[in-house]
Symmetry: C2
Subunit: 395 residues, 2 copies
C-alpha cells in the first residue's frame, strides 16, 4: 500500500490550463493559448552544425557527467553578454539550469520555509505560483499597472509584514506583456533595499524587445537579488537551458540544491548551445526573432483595433510573446472561451494567473506562435465572439 | 539585504566528496574515486547520426516545448524493454526525468513531510542522502549483508515505527556493489506489503550485469512502489536521461512535481536518445559495456588478491561500477586516503556513505572509468599504502 502524499501536494494551484492547451492542440483550432515561441525562429541548421562539431571534436567528453555549476565557457559567454548590456556579472555567479522554470524551483528550495510570505505580481506567471506553491508559502499580491507594480501598494505590503521574496517578471511580463519603466525599477529597488526581501527577477523575454529602450534589470540596483535568464526564446525551448545569477552566498546554496535535484544540467546540450553561440551571429539571429514577433504583434493590435468593441482594453507590449485583454466589467473570459471555441479560436482565460479574487474579465493572447492568416482570421472571430457575449450579457 | 535561507539548507549532509573529486581530477592521479562510466563506451558516432536525423527530419518540432510526462515513443520503448525482461509496465506509468537523480528529488517532493521516517541501506548512495535530506526527514538505516539487507533488522524497523519510504539500490549497489538475492527480494516484498511503506527502488546499473542471473526488481512483487531507471550507464550520463515507473495515482503527482520543477526534460535529447535506440542494436551495445566492465572488475579483483593484505575484505560485484573494501577494524580509510594520495592514487573513503556512525574502515573503488594500466599500477600502490597504514597503526 502506498503511503500518503506530502502535505505540499494538497497545496496545488488548480489550473485548467492543461485542459485548455489540450483543446487548443486540435490543428483545426486557431490557438492564441499556448506560450510557445515560433518554431520558424529556431536555428535548426546551425544547431545541427553545432551538435556535429561538439560530437566530432569532443564527443566522449561532451557525453560524460559534468559539474553542477554548468559548462564554464557557457557561463563566461553569459557573463560577457551581460557585460555588453552594461551589467557586471562574474561567471562564477552564474548557475546553468533546466530552463528558467528550474530557477524558480531552486530559489524556492533554497529560501522558502512553510508559511513564509511570497509576493507576486497580480496577475503573475502561472507556473511560478505552482513551483513556489509546493514550498507552502503564503502568497501576497501587488497590482500591476501599465508601467510596473503599484508603488504605494508595494510599500504598504513590504513595511506591513515580513515578505521573504518578491517574484517579478520585469520585461514583457507573462501574462500581461507589461514592462517596468525606468522610474518604477528605481522605486522598487529603493523600497527593497530597506527590507530583507529577496527580489526574484525573472527575465525570459528580455532579449525579445522590439520597441522602446532596453532597461537594466532592477537587480542592477541591488546587491543581493537573484536574476533569471533563458535561451528558450533566443535559441530553442526544447533544450531547457536557463540560468540564475546570484551573489556568492546564495550561489553556494543554489549549487547544493541543484546537485541534489539532478546533479547538473544536460551537459551535451550546454556544449551544443555554447557552440551555436560561438559560431553564429547571435545578435543578428535575435534581431530576426524581434522583427518576426513585432510584425505579429503589430498585426494582432491592428486586428484588435478593427474587430474588438471599443470598450475592450488591451496592452501594447514592447516585446515578448503576449498581450493582455480586459473585457468590460461583468463579462467572463471563461464564457468567452466557450463561445470562441465554437468558432475554433482559443486563448487562456485570465483567472488562472491570479492567486486570489481573479479578474474574470481578462484573457491572455499569444502572438509569437502564429502567422498572418491565423491572426487575421482568429482575431476577427474573437471580436465577433466578444460582441456576441456583450449582447448575451446585455452589458 | 538577502533574507535567511530555508531551514532545510541547514540540514545538508556534509560531504567531502566534492573536495576529493577535485583532488582526483589531477591527471597525474590514478583515480578510483569518481562514479563515472567509461567514456570509451559512449556511442559517439551513433549519437551524432541520431542527432543529425532528428534535426534534419523534424528539427523545429524537436526543439519546441513538450509535455511533462516525456516523449511518448521513448516511454513506449522503455515499457517494451521492461516487457522483454518479464516486467509488465504501461508507458503511461513512465515519467522521463533528468537522470535518476531527479527521480529521487521528485519522489521526495511528492511524499515527504518534515520528520517523516526514511529508511536507507547502510551504507547508501550519497546523493540520495543529500536529495532526500532537503525534505527534512528523519533517516533510519538498515545494514546491508552480501545478499541484500538484513531481514530481521528490516522487520524490526518496519514494525517498530511508521516508515514512509525505503530507498534501496537492489542491483550492484552504489557504494558496495551488493545485489539482492532472489530470496531477499521476496522477503523484502513480503515485509513491505504489510506496511504502508513506499519502496523506492533505484536501478541505474541493472543492465550492466556481467555475472550471475538477471533478477526481477522487488517492485515486480508490489503494486505501489516506484522504480527508477537511467540511460546514463547504457547510453551516456551527460544527457541526463532517466525515468520513474509509478502507479497511476503516484504518477499524477509526480507529473505535477515535474512540471513545477522544470516543465519537462530536455526534449531534443529525448528525441536523440530515442533515435539512437531505434537505429542501433542496443543489446549488442550493452553487451560491449558489460564485457568491458567485467574485464576491469576481474583485473581489479586479481590485483587486490595479489597486492592487498589478506585481512582486507572486498565485495565481488556481479555488475555495475563499484566494489567495496573493508580494512581491518581500527583502521581509517581517511588515513589511507592521505597515504595513497602521496602515491598519486585516490578513492572515496566509505564514511561519506553513512548517515550515522560511519564504518571508518571502508572505502569505495570504481572500476568502470579505468584501464588495465591504471588498475594494475593503482591497486598495487594502494596495497602498499594499506600495508604502510597497518604498520603505522601497529595493528
Amino acid at each position: 500500500m502506498a503511503p500518503e502524499f506530502a502535505d505540499r501536494m494538497k497545496n496545488i494551484h488548480q489550473s485548467f490550463v492543461r485542459e485548455i492547451l489540450k483543446v487548443a492542440d486540435n490543428p483545426e483550432i486557431i490557438s492564441f493559448a499556448g506560450g510557445l515561441p515560433n518554431p520558424d525562429s529556431f536555428p535548426v541548421e546551425a544547431l545541427k552544425e553545432a551538435a556535429n562539431k561538439v560530437l566530432s571534436e569532443d564527443g566522449a567528453q561532451a557525453l560524460q557527467y559534468s559539474t553542477s555549476e554548468g559548462y564554464q565557457p557557457l557561463r563566461e559567454y553569459i557573463a560577457r553578454r551581460y557585460d555588453k548590456n552594461g551589467l557586471n556579472v562574474d561567471s562564477e555567479n552564474i548557475l546553468i539550469t533546466n530552463g528558467s522554470q528550474q530557477c524558480i524551483d531552486l530559489v524556492g528550495k533554497v529560501f522558502l520555509n512553510q508559511d513564509d510570505k511570497v509576493l507576486l505580481e497580480r496577475p503573475t506567471y502561472l507556473a511560478a505560483i505552482q513551483a513556489l506553491g509546493l514550498y507552502q508559502p503564503e502568497f501576497r499580491e501587488v497590482p500591476l499597472l501599465e508601467d510596473g507594480v503599484e508603488i504605494s501598494f508595494l510599500e504598504k505590503i513590504l513595511t506591513g509584514e515580513r515578505i521573504k521574496m518578491f517574484y517579478a517578471v520585469t520585461n514583457f511580463q507573462n501574462p500581461t506583456g507589461i514592462t517596468y519603466s525606468q522610474r518604477k525599477r528605481e522605486e522598487v529597488a529603493e523600497l527593497l533595499q530597506k527590507q530583507d526581501t529577496l527580489l526574484v527577477e525573472d527575465n525570459p523575454y528580455g532579449e525579445i524587445r522590439f520597441a522602446g529602450k532596453n532597461l537594466a534589470p532592477i537587480n542592477s540596483y541591488l546587491t543581493d537579488g537573484v536574476l533569471f535568464g533563458s535561451f528558450s526564446k533566443i535559441v530553442a525551448p526544447g533544450m531547457r537551458m536557463g540560468w540564475i545569477v546570484a551573489s556568492d552566498d546564495i550561489m553556494d546554496n543554489l549549487v547544493i540544491a541543484k546537485q541534489a535535484s539532478d546533479l547538473h544540467s544536460n551537459y551535451f546540450t550546454q556544449r551544443v548551445v555554447y557552440q551555436f553561440l560561438q559560431d553564429n551571429d547571435v545578435d543578428k539571429h535575435v534581431q530576426k526573432i524581434r522583427r518576426m514577433y513585432r510584425k505579429q504583434r503589430d498585426l494582432m493590435i491592428r486586428m484588435i483595433q478593427e474587430h474588438f468593441p471599443a470598450e475592450v482594453h488591451y496592452t501594447e507590449p514592447e516585446g515578448g510573446m503576449f498581450l493582455w485583454v480586459t473585457l468590460p466589467p461583468g463579462l467572463s473570459s471563461m464564457d468567452l472561451f466557450d463561445l470562441a471555441l465554437k468558432e475554433d479560436v482559443a486563448f487562456v482565460p485570465g483567472e488562472t494567473f491570479y492567486v486570489n479574487d481573479a479578474e474574470k474579465n481578462t484573457l491572455r493572447l499569444n502572438f509569437s506562435n502564429s502567422d498572418r492568416e491565423k491572426i487575421e482570421i482568429g482575431i476577427k472571430r474573437l471580436g465577433k465572439s466578444i460582441e456576441k457575449l456583450i449582447v448575451q450579457k446585455n452589458i
